[in-house]
Symmetry: C2
Subunit: 140 residues, 2 copies
DNA sequence: ACCACTATGTATAAAAG
DNA sequence: TCTTTTATACATAGTGG
């Protein structure tokens, strides 16, 4: 999909990798959202950018997993006064749109500890979900 | 992409959802593999099919995470004599191709307990990786 | 439920602003 | 560097086996 056929091999230029990464990540996330809605299935995507920034996507209506959004938004209310305006705006946008795609590290650096904690809770839920789903499958 | 434009909304027919799911999941996985190679980034995808079957994809060269493949293949050697031929063939194929895409529950049902254990280890590694990556970012 | 076909919509490579 | 444009490659909707 482009002017020329692209060989699938590591791009040598770092900048090219970064540019390609954001473009293609966007495309994949769009597809994942569509799959999530069309087929009503749970989807979780985790990417690390060439510079190490993680992007987590969790499809809507993924019970349990979606709670990370609520906690993020609550956090913003509790600490509203201490935060920079752009952060609050971002969190509000995430909450209001019921969107669950975001770069966790675009939060202020001061919140990294909290962010990591959320990751941990999130992964515990993922693990629980995994066990639960597998049990259902075993019965079937 | 298709004969007609498809509205992105839940497909009412279960069979249609299932068919659409496998087709689109394949497409997303292909894209994720390309991203993984082109940009040399770590990628983790987790889907649950409309019937609840999980598919886990971990990009190649995702250190630590790829160990699940080695353990699966070792398992197949240890228990080779006890396993059905198709299982061994599947595991060999996974190992030889260094592919890291597979439906974990396409393993024989008897191995579900082991499979769950692998999930748990896998998630622990993912968690560790997450913490490690975030630390690096904090320094930068 | 899965493969094949093929017309058509979509993503994106390269170029341009 | 980012955004926009354009040409092209690719993914897939609908269909049939």
């Amino acid at each position: 999909m482009g002017r020329k056929k692209l060989k699938i091999q590591r791009l040598e230029d770092l900048k090219a990798r970064q540019a390609k990464y954001s473009k293609r990540k966007t495309g994949i996330l769009k597809k994942a959202k569509e799959l999530n809605i069309l087929c009503e299935v749970d989807v979780v995507l985790l990417f690390f950018s060439p510079s190490g920034r993680p992007t987590l996507f969790v499809g809507q209506n993924s019970t349990g997993l979606s709670s990370i959004l609520k906690r993020l938004s609550n956090l913003s209310f509790e600490e509203r006064e201490e935060r920079r305006a752009y952060t609050i705006e971002m969190l509000k946008k995430i909450y209001e749109n019921s969107e669950s795609e975001f770069d966790l590290l675009s939060l202020p650096h001061a919140t990294n500890a909290d962010t990591l904690k959320l990751y941990e809770d999130e992964l515990q839920e993922l693990k629980d979900k995994l066990v639960e789903k597998s049990k259902i499958l075993r019965i079937n």
